[in-house]
Amino acid sequence: MMASSYNAKEEDGHNSGASNNGGAGVVKSKKPDNTAFKQQRLPAWQPILTAGTVLPAFFVIGLIFIPIGIGLFVSSNNIKEFEIDYTGVDINNPCYNCAKNFSWNSTTPCVCSVPFTLEQPFESNVFMYYGLSNFYQNHRRYVKSRDDSQLNGDQSALKNPSKECEPYRTSEGQPIAPCGAIANSLFNDTLELYHIDSNGTRNTIPLVKKGIAWWTDKHVKFRNPGGNNNLTVAFQGTSKPVNWRKPVYELDPSDPENNGFINEDFIVWMRTAALPTFRKLYRIIQKKSSTTPTLPSGKYLLEITYNYPVLSFDGRKRMILSTISWMGGKNPFLGIAYITVGSICFFLGVVLLIIHHKYDTRNNSPDIPN
């Protein structure tokens, strides 16, 4: 049925010599068109996968990949990174006490200081991250537990958050703003960094908190309800998330551009991490002058307002200082991967070359016995 419908498509491409037999009229022929497409004779490239034809490709890939890999590896190695775990599992850790006694319900903040030493100076801008391990921010129900409309400043969603936020949707009869499990579990440790110079004085290192979130998040996705004028009024009739100490409009009272839903720490947290071990940008330490390093080598002190409990799920908290290059943070893997794949290609190319010389002597004219 379908088949015969093709007849309609056929054109009469064959009536050249049909005016015979007393002009009986042109007989419409069913002869198929002699086109390359219909006769399946489209010009085609037929790559043939033999040792001989494939081995150049292997060599070329090898030759391209190995230099790229070396380049990547070198640039990754040039990145300076310092990491310090301040969870406080170990009894020697200054935060041990904080970690031990702390839970979500604690009201008084616990402060601990972790001293550390940078062996090498950090030259360019330094990015300060906090890192969490074993924290499944990618859990399916966790990822869903948010209301983007509410975060976008939608008034109706503010008062009536999405069902996805359950069970962090309402608290004591009032809608939670921001609702959902992600917001509820906002990372709320405060980290401060001091440089201890040679005579033992603590110099506060200025930490920039602007520009740590995606521009689009800050300006498009996240908005405060009713503009930024008076957040206290705007968030009236809503309740703070259960685990929070203070309501959302007091996240950063110092800067109205960084308060409420558009608080950048909050925005960064809301971008759920892909893997259970992750880091999130916390602050940026900007380079002051071209002559002095941003962070010269020496002694430093990390002061932590310890609010965030992770020990219950065997998690770890870290502070990371890192410079970045064009390809992001320190990660030698990609360089190694390029070198490895390039080497394997090269090796396989050699194997193929041997095979080609040893066995592939057919010269493309096989004698097939009939």
């Binding site: 010599g17 198929p32 790559p47 996968l49 399916r140 939608d154 579990s185 991490a273 097939i368």
Partner: protein, 1316 residues
């Protein structure tokens, strides 16, 4: 066309409805009253009201029922139910994985595509129904007392209908009146069975004698007939008149819906079956649905995919349970409580998660696979249709794919069962030789002429071929050969005017006449025989003139004239004229009624005989006097040179037929025959008949007219003789003969002429005690018959019998009883025929050649090289079949032939046992024999038989194909097919290189196919052209019909219809191979693609606490299969060519690939799965490590993974693709572009939508990230490196000089990197 598409299920449903309607009247017959007796056709009292009306409705749906009904039908496919189930599962909040609306999208898409397709088809059916229902016809109206125009749909059972010439019949109509003086009506049944010859239908006997016009008001009969059924060739019933008289009704009285009235100005009939109950509609079966072997294998693997899916889900569920368990009572912040705020136990979460995972992993069961396969198959069918090499210019037809879903089976055939006549041969019968009264007439000149035809065929249009014919003239001095030259030249000159194609086109135009090729019309008579015929007829003329009894004629001469009379009249040939292609030639003279007695005859024709006797000059006809004079003067002399000229004169342009109807009395001195010569066309039901009639005409014994009760024959000197046709006992395959009973006009004897297969006739010849001459004739004829058979000719015996009036009367009485019997009529008629056809007197025999079609030996040779076993199943006699088999290289003169002819079951068993031993012995000795070793090494590359046949495990005997041919006849076959012997028979048959079954009935043919198919578990293909092949075609895995000479039944039953046998080669070797390898590769690729994509999410579960989270955005996940990766694989699945068409045809061995299912083996599925899992590991872990411990968020990490998975999949397809056309490049570029376009638009469209991924500006940011590009480069390379390496490695012939693998033919047979 639309009607053809009627769904079988629908037909069934309507049938059920009809049956329900009729329940109150559980009759075995249908009674039809005339509607004229009732006021209202639908009124309560009308007994016809329960019968279906003529409105047809082939649509499946109405506007209202479309949606529910279509959905209901679509949900019959299990996969659809499964996907809808999953989509609905998504609406359950606890387990949902995606936005529920989004998850519905693919299912809705697939369902709506199918629904739109169905709707469109149904609309077209509706349109064509409307068109048909609103055609006009004339129906008698009681109120207006005349025929009024009505729509077809308004016609009801019991209406009287007036039909005019060239009208199409609106319903099945019983013919009551015809304007034809003979009460005949001619119909063309091309729409029903494709046969273009006219068929005669007769007015019901009781209305035969009506002189005036039929008046419906006077009709008072009641018709009882069968219930509607789909047998086109059967109609039984009777009409009861008011007088109580019963008249039997036959199929000759019934005009079937869809036929066209021809040659009859007007006919009136009563509607018996209308609308869906007409035989034509009941015969409409929808397209056939077969499931291909590949699809069966695929379904197994779909099932495995389900199991893999369940295992993966189960694994994840257990993992999740354990993960939950390890936290114990300390609920971490990221483990969200249930919406009610309650704690979920690990076990409950695991159970919920199991369901969630089913949703997330649903992609593993490829939803688009089924749709894609359908699309690819339609494209394949399109390309097969478009192939110029499968187009036959002569008949302007190309290959038809009637079954759309088994194209790939064409590439996996192992056994071919072929019919002989019409399939291997042209079924264009050419009269070659004959023997009359024991004397052989070799027709050498004729043979030479035929040879020349063949030459011309091969020479195409060679202008210089004159020289080819001239030397012949020198060597042959007889007049006939001179004529041959002249004639062939005239043909040549005709050919020279145009191309060969043009000449062929001319033959197409003249093809209005069934079974008349120039070859069979153009017969050069044997001079000796021609002389004898002339002598004989002149003597008869003389005797008639002198009123001497005909019996004084020498018996051999009498035999000759009888022989030709039998050839002329013992058939069912209808005469027509080419000028008015569909007008019957009316050679009616002045007589209105058939001649009753010889006295009558003489009385009527004496004056004209005197006229012709005096001188032809008195005839004022426009016939060339010269030729008639010559005709008269050449009495008793051999034809002079002039007579050849007259022959040429006869070929002058046709004169108007009206001259022959003129007031001029017809002349009987052989004048008229040259008028008709070259003008009359014979339309025969079988090509043999036409060939014989043309042969007789060459001897001036020509058939000029046939009426139901009279045959007019024109004889030299005697002129037109009218034979009163008393009975025709038609041909049937059990009797294998036909007979006519006529009253001989010259002797007034009742004569039976019988024509039939020699085996059937020879047994019926009068016992030899009747005379030495007859014995001699019989034995000599038998010798010649054997000779003919050895030449591969089809033999027919001609016999006659003279009945005394008493004998005839006695037989007639019985016969009439048989004819009127309602029950067991067939058997009674058969017995009656047997009673008549005994004690025959043998006249002679004919040898007819059925030429092999072009390219048959080559096709068979290459199919055999392709590893196909070819069996020929024919109804022909053994000798003929064997010779044809030699001619078409099926049997090799060098090979031994086992002939199995047995008379009993025991003998057959013994024979089989012996042959088996013989084969084993031969095999054993040959395996040690050095020579045999050579033979084996010859076949080494494609020695597939021992290993490939899956059933070889059941047979312990080793089995190799030897150089043996097996010939078995029908009777032995019947024994061999018995349950007890079939295994032995198969064991013998499969060891033979070729098998030839002769004298087999249609049922046996299908039994053989079924046996081989079921016992050996092989793929079978049956090819045939006639009705006798239908059962075999239906049984085989793939049925191929030759749309040739013998109607359309085979084509109707087939899956593929070919114009010629030789096209089978390209169809199987090229298209079959391509279709198979394309589809097999596409299916494997599909499995790979889905597994690879789903596994990415599976690996992720280890890093998200088995929570069912997916890093791939739900949009990408759902549309990946449907959009992003769909086009390239469709293009490759449609266009890829692993080997070029030329190579495939040159090296048929490559076909073995498909026979052994080498493109799709179970291990390949698993290899693909392993490869998919490996590649997904690479695609997962390279981004994993690249982004480990970074600030990447879930979907910014997932999007690169999606992208590089897409790249990997596309590059993988690239490695699989063997030929790259611009379409492949385009499709890959399009896929990539589509993905990025969709991603960019999607990521820019809405900052708050699409929870939970909320991918706003993700892609845009990624495109600025160099890491993204670095990942996209390395991952596909790393993922496909090993795949490519192994692909190369597999092709390396490690044992150089050893056996080569044919698996990857490309590397072996085509030059590297060539542009074609």
């Amino acid at each position: 066309m639309a009607r053809e598409g009627e769904d079988p299920g629908m037909a069934k449903a309507s049938k059920v409805k009809r049956q329900r309607k009729k329940k109150p009247k559980e009759n075995k017959t249908r009674t039809v009253h005339a509607n004229i007796l009732y006021d209202n056709a639908k009124g309560e009292e009308n007994p016809n009201r329960n019968y279906a009306n003529n409105k047809i409705k082939t649509t499946k749906y109405t506007v209202l029922s479309f949606l529910p009904k279509n959905l209901f039908e679509q949900f019959h496919r299990f996969a659809n139910v499964y996907f809808v189930f999953i989509a609905l599962l998504n609406f359950v909040p606890v387990v949902n994985a995606f936005q529920p609306e989004l998850a519905l999208a693919p299912v809705v898409f697939i369902l709506s595509v199918t629904a739109i397709k169905d709707l469109w088809e149904d609309y077209r059916r509706h349109r064509s129904d409307q068109e048909i229902n609103h055609m006009d016809c004339l129906v008698y109206s009681r109120a207006e007392r005349r025929y009024v125009e009505r729509y077809w749909k308004e016609v009801r059972v019991g209406d009287f209908i007036r039909l005019r010439c060239n009208e199409i019949l609106p319903a099945d109509v019983l013919l009551l009146s015809s304007s034809d003086p003979d009460r005949l009506c001619h119909i063309e049944t091309a729409t029903l069975d494709g046969e273009t010859n006219l068929k005669q239908r007769q007015v019901v006997r009781s209305f035969f004698d009506l002189d005036c016009d039929f008046d419906p008001l006077k009709y008072n009969g009641i018709i009882e007939c069968e219930k509607p059924n789909n047998d086109l060739n059967r109609f039984r019933g009777y009409i009861i008149h008011q007088s109580g008289r019963r008249d039997a009704l036959y199929k000759e009285n019934l005009l079937l819906r869809g036929c066209t009235i021809r040659n009859t100005e007007e006919a009136v009939g009563i509607v018996i079956y209308a609308g869906h109950e007409t035989k034509a509609m009941l015969n409409n079966n929808g397209p056939r649905y077969k499931r291909s072997k590949l699809e069966r294998q695929m379904n197994v693997h779909v099932f495995w995919c389900v199991i893999i899916l369940l295992v993966m889900c189960l694994f994840a569920a257990v993992g999740h349970g354990l993960w939950m368990f390890q936290y114990g009572d300390k609920r971490p912040v990221f483990d969200v409580l249930s919406p009610e705020g309650t704690d979920l136990s690990p076990i409950m979460s695991a159970i919920y998660l199991f369901l969630t995972m089913i949703i997330v992993f649903q992609v593993l069961i490829p939803i688009s696979l089924f749709v894609s396969i359908e699309i690819v198959k339609i494209c394949q069918v399109y390309f097969i249709h478009q192939d110029m090499d499968l187009y036959d210019e002569e008949t302007d037809s190309h290959l038809q794919c009637r079954a759309l879903n088994i194209t790939e089976d064409l590439g996996q055939m192992q056994y071919i069962f072929s019919d002989k006549t019409g399939t291997l041969t042209e079924n264009k019968m050419v009269f070659r030789r004959c023997t009359v009264a024991g004397v052989e007439y070799s027709h050498d000149a004729n043979a030479r002429r035929l040879a020349m035809y063949q030459e011309m065929d091969s020479e195409e249009e060679d202008c210089t071929s004159h020289s080819g014919t001239l030397p012949r003239r020198d060597s042959v001095t007889s007049h006939q050969s001179a004529r041959v030259v002249l004639r062939s030249q005239s043909t040549k000159s005709h050919r020279r005017t145009g191309s060969r194609a043009e000449a062929k086109r001319a033959s197409i135009l003249s093809k209005h006449t069934a079974f008349s090729s120039p070859m069979e019309k153009d017969i050069t008579p044997d001079p000796q025989l021609l002389d004898k015929v002339n002598e004989c007829s002149s003597q008869m003329d003389f005797m008639r003139f002198h009123s001497q009894p005909m019996s004084q004629l020498p018996s051999d001469l009498a035999d000759i004239i009888d022989f030709f009379i039998a050839l002329t009249i013992c058939n069912t040939v209808v005469v027509s004229s080419p000028n008015q292609p569909r007008q019957k030639v009316r050679m009616r003279f002045e007589l209105k009624s058939p001649v009753k007695t010889i006295e009558d005859f003489i009385k009527r024709f004496t004056p004209s005989r005197l006229t012709s006797g005096s001188n032809s000059s008195s005839s004022s006809s426009l016939i060339t006097n010269r030729s008639s004079n010559r005709g008269c003067s050449s009495l008793l002399s051999s034809p002079s040179a002039e007579s050849t000229l007259t022959k040429l004169d006869e070929e002058q342009p046709p004169r108007g037929l009206e001259h022959s109807f003129g007031p001029v009395p017809p002349c009987y001195n052989g004048k008229a025959w040259n008028l008709e010569d070259g003008e009359l066309r014979y339309e025969a039901e079988s090509p043999d008949e036409a060939a014989l009639v043309y042969a007789a005409r060459a001897y001036k014994c020509s058939l000029v007219g046939r009426l139901p009760d009279q045959v007019t024959v024109e004889l030299p000197h005697l002129g037109k003789l009218s034979f009163e046709l008393l009975h025709t006992l038609g041909f049937d395959s059990t009797r294998k003969r036909m007979s006519v009973v006529v009253r001989h006009p010259l002797t007034d004897q009742i004569t039976v002429y019988t024509k039939g297969a020699d085996s059937a006739i020879m047994d019926l010849i009068k016992p030899p005690d009747t005379g030495k001459r007859q014995i001699k004739i019989v034995s000599r004829t038998q010798n010649y018959l054997n000779l003919y058979a050895a030449d591969g000719l089809r033999t027919l015996c001609i016999a006659k019998k003279i009945l005394s009036k008493e004998q005839y009367a006695c037989w007639l009485q019985h016969h009439l009883q048989a004819e009127t019997a309602i029950q067991g009529r067939e058997e009674l008629l058969f017995d009656s025929a047997l009673r008549l056809e005994t004690n025959l007197q043998l006249l002679g025999a004919t040898g007819i050649e059925d030429r092999l079609q072009d390219g048959v030996p080559e096709t068979i040779a290459s199919l055999r090289m392709a590893g196909l076993q070819i069996w020929v199943l024919t109804g022909d006699k053994q000798e003929t079949a064997v010779n044809i088999a030699y001619a078409c290289k099926l049997l090799d003169p060098e090979e031994e032939i086992l002939t199995l002819n047995a008379d009993s079951q025991e003998a057959c068993a013994l024979l089989l046992e012996e042959s088996l031993h013989y084969i084993q012995a031969k095999f054993l000795c040959s395996s040690t024999d050095q020579a045999a070793k050579a033979f084996h090494s010859n076949f080494a590359p494609f020695e597939i038989y021992p290993s490939s046949s899956p059933s070889s495990s059941s047979h312990t005997t080793p089995f190799t194909v030897l150089r043996l041919g097996l010939v078995i006849d029908g009777r032995t076959l019947a024994y061999a097919l018995d349950k007890s012997l079939e295994d032995k028979f198969l064991a013998v048959a499969r060891s033979c290189r070729s098998v030839l079954c002769c004298r087999s009935t249609p049922l046996q043919k299908s039994m053989v196919v079924k046996l081989v198919r079921n016992k050996l578990k092989v793929m079978t293909l049956a090819i045939g052209d006639g009705a006798n092949d239908v059962s075999m075609i239906q049984v085989a895995d793939v049925g191929v019909g030759i749309s040739g000479q013998e109607g359309m039944q085979a084509v109707m039953a087939s899956d593929f219809a070919l114009p010629r046998f030789r096209y089978l080669q390209k169809l199987l070797l090229v298209h079959g191979h391509w279709c198979y390898s394309r589809l097999a590769n596409m299916i494997l690729y599909f499995f790979y693609k889905n597994a690879m994509f789903v596994a990415l999410i599976f690996w992720y579960q280890f890093y998200c606490g088995f929570s069912g989270s997916a890093m791939i955005d739900q949009w990408y996940l759902i549309f990946f299969n449907l959009m992003f990766s769909a086009f390239p694989q469709l293009i490759t699945g449609t266009l890829d060519k692993d080997v070029s068409a030329e190579t495939l045809q040159q090296l048929p061995q490559l076909y073995v690939n498909g026979q052994n299912s080498e493109e799709y083996k179970p291990y390949m599925f698993w290899m693909n799965m392993i490869d998919a899992f490996y590649q997904s590991l690479v695609c997962f872990f390279i981004p994993y490590f690249a982004y480990a411990d970074s600030d990447v968020d879930l979907f910014t990490w997932g999007t690169p993974i999606t992208t590089l998975a897409l790249f990997t999949i596309l590059v993988h397809l690239g490695i699989e693709t063997k030929t790259w056309t611009w379409m492949n490049w385009l499709s890959i570029a399009f896929s990539t572009a589509l993905f990025f376009t969709v991603a960019l638009c999607y990521n820019a469209s809405c900052p708050t939508c699409y929870t939970p991924s909320n991918p706003y500006w993700t892609m845009q940011r990624l495109l600025q990230d160099p890491l993204f590009y670095l990942l996209c480069v390395i991952t596909p390379v790393a993922a496909l490196l090993l795949n490519l390496f192994f692909k190369v490695l597999v092709q390396v012939p490690f044992s150089s000089g050893g056996q080569m693998k044919l698996r990857e033919p490309v590397s072996l047979f085509s030059e590297p990197t060539r542009w074609r």
